[in-house]
Symmetry: C2
Subunit: 350 residues, 2 copies
Amino acid sequence: MAKKADPYTPGEQPRERKYIKLNTNENPYGPSPRAIAAIKEVADDSLRLYPDPTCEALTQTLAEYHGRKPEEVFVGNGSDEVLALAFMTFFNPGDPVAFPDITYSFYPVYANLFNIDYHLVPLEEDFSLSLDRFPEKNGGVIIPNPNAPTGKTVTLDFIETLLKRNPDKAVIIDEAYIDFGGTTAVNLVDTYPNLLVIYTLSKSRSLAGLRVGYAIGQAPLIEGLNRVKNSFNSYTLDRLAIAGAIEAIRDEAYFQETREKIITTREKTAAALRALQFTVHDSVANFIFISSPDMPAKQLFEGLRAEGVLVRYFNKPRIDNYLRVSIGTDDEMEAFVSAIRRIFTKEGLL
Amino acid sequence: MAKKADPYTPGEQPRERKYIKLNTNENPYGPSPRAIAAIKEVADDSLRLYPDPTCEALTQTLAEYHGRKPEEVFVGNGSDEVLALAFMTFFNPGDPVAFPDITYSFYPVYANLFNIDYHLVPLEEDFSLSLDRFPEKNGGVIIPNPNAPTGKTVTLDFIETLLKRNPDKAVIIDEAYIDFGGTTAVNLVDTYPNLLVIYTLSKSRSLAGLRVGYAIGQAPLIEGLNRVKNSFNSYTLDRLAIAGAIEAIRDEAYFQETREKIITTREKTAAALRALQFTVHDSVANFIFISSPDMPAKQLFEGLRAEGVLVRYFNKPRIDNYLRVSIGTDDEMEAFVSAIRRIFTKEGLL
């Protein structure tokens, strides 16, 4: 009776024991204490009332933060929902949308769900993205910047070229990880009516458990998203999420402090792994993409799991000898590197 | 660039002044204090982590409550999202789904969004639903029980007839308002593999602001819903919503106390309005559907608004001389009836 669909597989959420959890790109630091206080403040009898379906207060806060107008901001239940609604709103069957062959694995899932054809743009050998590989005409483009799971970034010139080549199609830049060292494309919104930039509060704002994402683009794109969203679910954000998200965005000092700690820890971890002969791609995300010449990724993945460290292994062509490792605290990353040393020692590799 | 869609219009959420708000079927009593305490307890650093994408603890709680197995329960971001995903999962273009012509106005919105044809089943003059009016074969059926905005109920025999007539198609019973006096169809789930019953925590559990709904059906239907949901958004419920929903379901005493108060107030209000010559349809919901022979509904709607009372007016054929009035506290409903008396007096009707 039910339609076929080929769902996305999220990273595992362990329950049976305490792991060092470096497998789902969560932030090792808690969210802003101001966000937690704001949530507690609205957890009262007012929960009997529907939330504001337009999320006006949050939209206003995000618009101010990015120097945009409120009608240029769309909010949703995590960036995954924003992405799903964007696929529904802007992409069409029979007009293939382009995205990298190695990228966020939810994109082909959305495309299949909505029967949207797609063209996979192959990454180069070094996992960089090349403009030459994109078809001249597309039914739309979506790329994460930085890309996942590689952590590699593209320039704003690169993005502008895609925008110019596809003037009548939506070009979506998924900036889930932008705050860990990338350059946002949001300032191109004034120039390009076809640009949509998508953000999440799950990573740099440490609110994966609250489900808030948003998109910025010119008003007609945002209006289109709202029309589809309001045909699907009027109230996608609950009262607690709206209140927490507003304070998380406002707490700039906490945001800067935690993201800088993560960047510092990332570079320290990359150096330690390179000293162990790992290939570590330059990352501007809160994760690194690594490969050892001495041990297959799958074996290392399993070894780390046995040592109490969860990382992400993708059993997919081209990347099945890599691990994606989220950046935790300094202590967690030192424990991770120590675990590798123990595994390597046991195998006589050190 | 964006697709056309004809969105649902939710009842207004006033900001400018304090109204007696009887327009969106919210519960006048707050949620269970245990639910609020549970939310506050999980509002901490753990928000940095993703929620459980399977919502196992909540699914388990709901299964126990209804005497079902966990694999027979699907949870979502409000029953609106559950309904949207059910339309995606079970209904198909070219195979018209049947629902009443006067019903929850989101159904045709979903159908249009997913290009699903539909057949409108006309209600009788007294707003009752008649089996004779349903086509013999349907691409699926969806009816709310009790119906909205009329508050009228159908029997389980009625539902069983629809289930038997459409053995290969999903028959969805939307029980958003069932706890205010209706008889749930959930016990038919064992007999009918094509039955899906949908519930919300927004009404009888007073958690409209938290966004939790769910569906119960045999495991293959639930599996189908999960496949589509996991192709759309892995994490539709945040950590706070999961924790609050579990405690709201567990607090049976509070639930019974508040729903009984609402039923008592509804009957009292209906009697007061009948004394003012209103037509008041028998309702088993937390709202009543009323019409005055003395004043057009639109005029009364505007008069009530000026008096600080919001009710719902639908500018639609057949029901444009009716108002849907949510049941508030005794005090609120007395204020509502007093406001009508003042309006009638001003117009020389009393």
